[in-house]
């Protein structure tokens, strides 16, 4: 239950009591607001008293009589200036003229209720105001959430970029320190580790640029006929050295036509990420099976590995940014933590989805579905950027 606080400011006691009585047991439903809304009514006899109450604690909704002894309703609004951005004002007046309505609106009044009004008219005006108020607050919360996510992203990114620099700096300091004097084998190990960390940092930056371009919608997308089997074979070729080193067999199974109207770079990002993960998180001597299948509307890419797998809890958060499953088994595997979140975003651009099924110690199967003939065009990037926003 949401309670909205209403302040009714009117010099007629009958009016104040009437409003309080009408709203006291009134419950309303507001669209997109999960719970019913009720009202708590406070009263002020004069604008001066109302001003004092508002300054003390602003209500959500002010029902304000225009004609008051002493300070008028309009003067009260002027006195408040822009101090109460969270409060909505509904002006009550017996002198319903266009002019006064326009003036009241200029002063930031949300609505306007001519006297005399029936309880039904009051309820209607209050319902409209409440819906507006809650909608604005909801939008503001979403905006704050978006900003929070952005800051969090930058914070983690900063950490992810700093950590390889720290490692490499550490190695260089030791190599530069006459007192440390590591033996040649250890020195070589330190240089090798430095190169690995730098390489990882480069991959992170590449992923970051990929993600930024996809998200901004500014990358020029070229939608052409792309054969996914060919893209898969290229990914296999790229990863062959890494797979061979650990005796991992990578096989492609293509069933039927594998062409899709798509941007080639985006398809490469998907397959490279999935196949590279399947090799990285596999066991020595394991298998990677890439399966492409299609029906009339969609193409499904499935990449199955015989690797370390993961728990349902770990799988559930896997597609989020910078989520890397951290445990004893993944300790020495480097990754940017962005690959799968990029894959998911691209899949969504093709009105598809990305998911994983996994069992610890048995393996994981990643499935990406893409619509073959989506409505998208190369120019239509605004919608796509929208679709990829978190």
């Amino acid at each position: 239950m949401t309670t909205l606080r209403v302040l009714v400011c009117d010099d007629e006691m009958g009016m104040r009591v009437g409003v309080a009585r009408t709203l006291r047991d009134h419950r309303i439903e507001v669209p997109d607001h999960g719970e019913p809304v009720c009202f708590e009514v406070d009263q002020a006899q004069t604008a001066e008293q109302a001003l004092w109450k508002i300054r003390d604690r602003a209500p959500d909704l002010l029902l304000l009589d225009q004609k008051l002894p002493g300070m008028s309703g309009m003067e009260l609004l002027k006195a408040l200036e822009q101090d109460t951005p969270d409060m909505l004002t509904v002006m009550i007046t017996a002198y319903a003229t266009i002019d006064s309505a326009v003036h009241a609106t200029k002063m930031g009044t949300f609505d306007y209720l001519p006297k005399p009004f029936t309880p039904a008219e009051l309820k209607d005006a209050v319902r409209k105001a409440a819906a507006h108020l809650l909608l604005v607050r909801h939008a503001r919360r979403l905006e704050e959430e978006r900003r929070r996510v952005r800051f969090e992203f930058i914070r983690v990114l900063g950490h992810e970029l700093k950590s390889p620099l720290n490692a490499v700096t550490g190695y260089l300091q030791i190599l530069n320190d006459p007192a440390a004097a590591p033996d040649p084998a250890t020195a070589k190990q330190m240089i090798d580790r430095s190169l690995i960390r730098i390489d990882h940092m480069r991959k992170l930056i590449v992923d970051l640029l990929d993600m930024t371009r996809i998200e901004s919608g500014q990358r020029r997308r070229e939608l052409v006929e792309v054969d996914l089997a060919e893209v898969a074979r290229m990914a296999m070729e790229t990863l062959e050295p890494a797979a061979q080193e650990r005796r991992i067999t990578v096989a492609l199974h293509a069933d039927g036509p594998t062409a899709i109207n798509a941007d080639r770079t985006e398809m490469e990002i998907i397959l490279n990420n999935l196949v590279s993960n399947a090799v990285k998180y596999n066991r020595d001597g394991g298998r990677v099976d890439i399966e492409l299948s299609c029906d009339s509307d969609s193409i499904t890419i499935q990449v199955a590995d015989t690797g370390i797998g993961m728990s349902p809890d770990e799988a559930a958060k896997l597609f989020r940014e910078f989520v890397r499953i951290k445990n004893a088994k993944t300790r020495n595997i480097l990754g940017s933590g962005l690959g799968l979140s990029i894959v998911k975003r691209i899949a969504e651009m093709y009105h598809g989805a990305a998911s994983v099924e996994s069992e610890p110690e048995v393996g994981s199967t990643f499935t990406v579905t893409l619509q073959r003939r989506s409505e998208q065009t190369a120019e239509n990037t605004d919608d796509l950027a929208e679709a990829t926003n978190p």
Binding site: A167, G170, I174, D177, A179, P182, T186, R193, N327, A328
Partner: protein, 135 residues
């Protein structure tokens, strides 16, 4: 060199899930005259400590679980109350939370003899270790 040789040296257990930190500190501790055994997880560290005697332990706070270092520290101290334990943490720069064991109360519930914040300079670690081994 005289300052370093003046330090008492010993067999140090070094526990961290970051292979780079492990390698770097191992080289630096060895060059300061210590013998070093490394462990890549809290569990491995605990197992090693049960099987052999160490003169000191250097433990990373954040391993598999965020407080794995605390737990390991507790077990090490329970097993060998007199063995100095140094906790290493990146927590200050990562979260802004400051951890310290400078007061008696803090020392009483966190079973570490010294705290170091990453990035750890090698002379910081060898210096702290040398002092604790002398006590």
């Amino acid at each position: 060199m005289t300052a370093e040789t003046a330090h008492k040296t010993g067999h140090v257990l070094l526990v961290d899930d970051d292979p780079d930190f492990l390698l770097q500190q191992k080289v630096m501790l060895e060059s300061a005259g210590h013998t070093v055994t490394t462990a890549e997880s809290a569990a491995q560290g605990q197992e090693l400590a049960q099987r052999q005697e160490f003169d000191a332990a250097v433990v990373d706070l954040m391993m598999e679980e965020h407080d794995a270092g605390f737990t390991l520290c507790y077990h090490l101290k329970k097993h060998r109350p007199d063995m100095p334990v140094i906790l290493v943490t990146a927590v200050t720069s990562e979260t802004g939370h400051e951890f310290d064991a400078s007061t008696r109360e803090e020392r009483s519930w966190v079973k570490a003899d010294a705290w170091l914040t990453k990035p750890v300079r090698s002379e910081q670690l060898t210096g702290t270790l040398g002092k604790l081994l002398k006590d």
